[in-house]
Structures are given as structure tokens and as C-alpha cells.
Amino acid sequence: MRLTGAEIILECLIREGVEVMFGYPGGAILPTYDAMTKYTDRLHHVLVRHEQGASHMADGYARATGRVGVCIATSGPGATNLITGLATAMMDSSPIVAITGQVTVPAIGSDAFQETDVTGATLPVTKHNYLVTDVEELAYTIKEAFHIARSGRPGPVLVDVPKDVQNAVTEFYYPEEEIHLPGYRPPQGASEDQVAEMLDLLHNAQRPVILAGHGVTMSGANNELQELAERAQIPVTLTLLGKGAIPQDHPMVVGWMGMHGDAACNNAIQEADLLIALGMRFDDRVTGNIKTYSPHSKKIHVDIDPSELNKNILVDVPVAGDLKTVLRQVLPKMQDRSHPEWLNRIRDWQEDADERDILKRDTPGKLLAAQVINDLWKYTEGNAITVTDVGQHQMLEAQYYPHQRPSTMLTSGGLGTMGFGFPASIGAKFGMPNEEVWAIVGDGGFQMTLCELATAVQENINVNIAIINNGFLGMVRQWQELFYDRRYQSTPMLGPDFCKLADAYGIANRRVTSRDEVQSAVEFARSVNGPVLIEFQVEKEDMVYPMVPAGADLHDMKRRPKTGEEA
């Protein structure tokens, strides 16, 4: 079968199981867009309004489904607009493949119109990238790109295809044999010695804590994690991206850790005599000051990326391996244990935190972001896929929307990309059309990528948008309040009338200003087929507690005062 390079790209996407791609046409990618006309029955192209949106949609699709998300852009500005999305996916190990057009091979290096060195520019924010200069290599390269994106520690891969390579014709052959890359050998399991060392620590720990990250779900080790926690009676703390790795109402789950995490988690980590870190990477937002981090504990760290081991925190047993494989090596040999005193201690910390909970306060006449998110949890039966943006609402989502299932809380954790939430929710809905999807965004981040409202309408995609509008860049304002003497430089933020904006796009909408309107607004959103925008006008100068100031010790949390203790 003789095909053009453009057709080969699309044939390869179909063979990789791709059904939807997010992109934006332009000169250097036109041959591929023209070829799409022959594949409309098998490949759906979603026209975005900005290429950044395409990269976040591919990312949201990948996070919700575990499959590779695909985005397409033209050369030069089209490709550079993808970079924020690639960096976001890189930090959170999300598998996406980006296809970009490039100027013709003879024009490369001549500063041609819309030419950018895209492989050079995206090198630090991709797991790998390619410039394909020969059509004979195209099919193999795309297969390799998908293999690299989804295997080992997943990540974004970019394939840059010059326009003349898209036009060139060759005999199409899809390589059926497995990809073999001598320089790419993701680790498998643990050695026998490592298993023995892990068992020794597990059997002898008095105050063990599991730290479960994104890797648990990516490795599919959810059941193994639960078995480990139950049989060894080890409390589980979650990272932000680890939420959903184990049902959050499971009795062994303490909560989530880190800067705005549960005080009980942070206290447990600091007091522990054994940390079992599974598929997480000791980000500075979860460790606080690394010099005083969990000072009394032995540490086991299992991660598929060997370069994560001993990177931030020195550990006693570093294991480079696939988490599910490693846990399956350990569990059959592990003896059951119990730590009732330790669990009681943690329960005391949890009770103390409950007394400080803002939801237990009487706040007449106020609508708080925490209330909105908790009500959203209640009226969606805690069963929606929530896709957050970045800031206070993101932390409050993590605090007040417990998740029971893996891959139902999608958020830009590592890069903290404002503008991620709304486009990523569109991608998530394409991947999981039968799930209820909510974008929970702040008024700041939403304004960064709200052009995708038109995309949502054009595709009639059924996402619900909850704008938590406090008229501020709330998290930055919180830092200014705490650390910059309330000098609110450039954080009060004017936004549009979001409901009129929705009207302009023809999107159903509601505005909520008081608590008693929340339930009916959520029910309204759930009843509409197609995008819905709900603007929640919340308290302007609210705080997220607890908070570990950047660089402070993890146990040195700023706490919300108990009732009656307010200054």
C-alpha cells in the first residue's frame, strides 16, 4: 500500500488505538489535515482555540484513561504553544504524543517562515523527541514514540515531521515486531536481597507509614497497595496525584500529605519509624525542609525511575522497579502485623484537625470555597471525575472532595500549570464519555484558557465548569497576606461577567452567591446535556489551612485556630 507521509501518520495513530486527537491546523501540517478527510470515520479531530489547549486536552485524556493522548500542531508558533502542556505532562508523567509540522527538510536552518527548532526547544520538557527527515523512518518512529510515551515512567514524546516528509510517498508497512531500544530498559522487579531488606523493615516497624503517589495507579498496583495496608495495618498517606490510588474512605487512609495536606499525615510522617514510599518522588511540596524531614525513620522507596531514588531524600532501601511487580514479590512473603497504638495516635491528630475544620464553623451569610467543593462532592455522590486548575480551589478540592476510584482527580501537581483545568476536563470527557466530568477552576486560571469554551460548544462536550470566583489570585494573595504584610500587588483581579460570557458562547449557566443555591445549581448542571458553567461567587479573602510555609519543617504547620481561639 503506497501512502503519503501524512497518511502514514494517521494509519499509525489508528494502529496505536487512537480515536481522538486535539489540534490546530497551519501551513506546515496541512498535508496531514488534508489526509484526515479520508479517516473521519475512525479518527475524530477536535479543533481547539489555542494549541496549549490541545496539549492539556491530550494530557487530560491520558490521565483519565491511562491511554496515550494525542495533540497536533503546525510548525513555529503552533509547536511552541504546546510547550506548557508538554512540560505539565512531563512533570506529572502523563503519556502524550505530540505531532508537529515542520518546514521542509531543505528549508530547515534557514529561518524559514514559521520555522522553530522544535526538537531543540522541547528537549528539556519531553521524555524523548524526534525530527523525521526520511519518510521511510516515519512509521517506525511513531510506533517508537507511542512505546516510549506509555512504558516505563510515562511522559510526553514529540514527533516533528517536515512538510515534504508528509507529502513524500512510500510503501506503508507498520512494524509488527516489538520495539527494541538498547538504551531504554525500564526496570522490572526488585532483587531478592531488596525484597528481604523490605520485609525486614516491614516486619520490625512500630510506626510505619505508606506514602502512595501517582505511580500506584500508573502501575496498576491499587489492589496490592490495599493488601499491603490491610495486612500490615499501615496507615496510608497520599500525594496530591496519589488521590484515588486507594478508596479515600478506606479505614487505613489518613489523608493526603504536604504543604496543604492533612496535619495528621504530616505528623505521622514526621513521627514515623518507617516510610514506605511507593511511586512518589519526594517533591519539595510534600517534604518541606528536607533536613528535618521524617528524621526518625528508615525509608523504603520504590519507583520505576532510578534517577528519583536518593534524589531529594536519602533512603535505606532504594528499589528501581515496577511497583505492582515489586509489591507482588513482597506480599506473599510478608507476615501480617498490627500497630494499634500508632493508629490511635494518628486518630488523635485527626480528631484535633476535625475541631479546626472550617465546615464545622458557623459562617452565616458567607459562601466559602470549601463549602462549595464539599457540596459538589455531596451532590455528585463523590463519583465525578474532577479536573482542577491551580491554586486555592485546587488545594480545597484535595481537602474536601474525597475520591474513591483511581484516575478521578486530575490536576497539574508538579508544574502547577494555571489554565490546565478547563481544557484538560474536555480531554478527560472525550476519554471517559460515560463519566460525569467537572472542571473546578479559579477565576484566574480559567481566564488563561477560557477560549476553549468555543471548543466545548462546537463539540457539544458535556463538561460542567465550576468557577470558584473570589476576585483574587487567591493563593498568591494568601502568601502576600502571610509573608508580604498584605501588600496585594497584582492579585486583585477583574474578571468578566462569567454568566454573560457563557451566554455569548451559548452555554447554559448559573450564578451562585449563597450556600442554599449550591445544590440546585449542581443539579441543574447535571441535568443539561452539553457544557454548563456555574459561577460560585465566594468569600474574597479566604485562607487554605493547614499550611507548611515553603522551606519550613513539615511539622511546622500554620493551623486554623480552633473555635474560640481566634485572635
Binding site: T119, G120, L123, P124, K127, H128, L131, D134, E136, E137, A139, Y140, I148, T170, E171, F172, Y173, P175, E177, H180, L181, P182, G183, Y184, D305, P306, S307, L309, N310, K311
Partner: protein, 191 residues
């Protein structure tokens, strides 16, 4: 002469890499990104057509051998990495040094020092001579200090190349995929 590894503030790593465009850029980008301070980096061909070999010496202040090796290994085009710090190995650095030799005194001194080390005078004219010095990094440095008083006018060093001693062979069977006329991709070493 045997050389024992000695603890230094430097990490010596050898990487076998695919011999194709952009690989050096990936490695340079990695070192910059991770704030590893490169002391020297050499690239050259091996006895295998598609494999290049790099010897990289890194300052150990912000890096440790495992960290450097783990990060290098993450690059898809890096086939294999070996840290030489704790293995017996030999290493060589080559310097070309142009020195003043416009009077009998300087020529005599130069010849004497060269005989002693030894180094070779590979070009000589009425005003300057070029000396070639091969040895360990320290040995070359020592030589340079000895001839400095004569008057160095130009100099270049290759940076260190290194190889582990004995039968622990650092090699790869790597062959790139072959794209035949009808587009069939084959790995000659797999099939």
C-alpha cells in the same frame, strides 16, 4: 604502570551512545538542566560504526556518581553507562602547547623538560615550537607548569578519555534499525 583509582572531587563516567545527530545536545542539555558542572567531555568513534563513546568528567559538588549515571541512562540514545570512579582504569589527556623558542636558552630548556616527562616536540620554527604531551590529567597539568616559564603562547587540551582495566569489557552489540526499500524496519541484531 598501574593506576589505582584515587578519591578526587571528580566523577568520571563513560557513556556509549548512538552515533546520530542531536545526541551531544541531549547530554549537554541534561547536564545543564540538572546543574551538573562538566569538567571535560570528549566524544569519539568506537570500533562499531553506529556507536560513539563519551568520557565525561563531572565536578562532584552537586552530583554523585549514581545520580549522574541514572540521569544519563534515562536518555533513550544513551545505550550504556559506566562509572569509573571505583574501578581500576586508565585515563589520558592530550595537550598541544605552542611555546616560545626564539633563542637557544628556551630551546634547550624545552628539550630538557620534554625528555624528562616525556613529551614530544612535533613542530619547530624560528620563533615557536609545538609540543605534544600525553598523560593523565594531573601529569599533563604538571608538565604545563614546568614549561610555563618558557612562555606558552597557545594551548589546547582534548579532555580526558578513560577506559576500565582488565576483562570487564564496556561494549554493546547495538545496531540501528534498518529501513529497507519497502519501508520494512529491521533490527539486524534482534532478528
Amino acid at each position: 604502570m598501574t593506576e589505582q583509582p584515587k578519591p578526587t572531587g571528580k566523577i568520571t563516567v563513560v557513556a556509549l551512545v548512538e552515533n546520530k545527530p542531536g545526541v551531544l545536545n541531549r547530554i549537554a542539555s541534561l547536564f545543564r538542566r540538572r546543574a551538573f558542572n562538566v569538567d571535560s567531555l570528549t566524544v569519539g568513534r568506537t570500533h562499531r560504526q553506529h556507536v560513539s563513546r563519551m568520557t565525561i568528567v563531572v565536578d562532584s559538588e552537586r552530583a554523585n556518581p549514581n545520580k549522574v549515571a541514572a540521569n544519563l541512562s534515562k536518555l533513550i540514545n544513551v545505550i550504556d553507562v559506566q562509572v569509573l570512579n571505583n574501578t581500576p582504569h586508565v585515563s589520558r589527556d592530550l595537550a598541544l602547547i605552542k611555546v616560545r623558542s626564539d633563542d637557544a636558552d628556551s630551546r634547550n630548556t624545552l628539550t630538557e623538560i620534554c625528555d624528562l616527562f616525556p613529551a614530544r616536540i612535533i613542530d619547530i620554527g624560528p620563533d615557536v615550537a609545538i609540543v605534544e604531551m600525553v598523560g593523565t590529567e594531573e601529569h599533563v597539568a604538571e608538565f604545563i607548569e614546568r614549561i610555563r616559564p618558557i612562555g606558552i603562547v597557545e594551548m589546547v587540551r582534548t579532555g580526558v578519555v578513560a577506559m576500565g582495566r582488565g576483562t570487564r569489557i564496556h561494549d554493546t552489540e547495538y545496531e540501528p534499525p534498518v529501513f529497507t526499500k519497502n519501508g520494512v524496519a529491521k533490527h539486524t541484531n534482534v532478528i
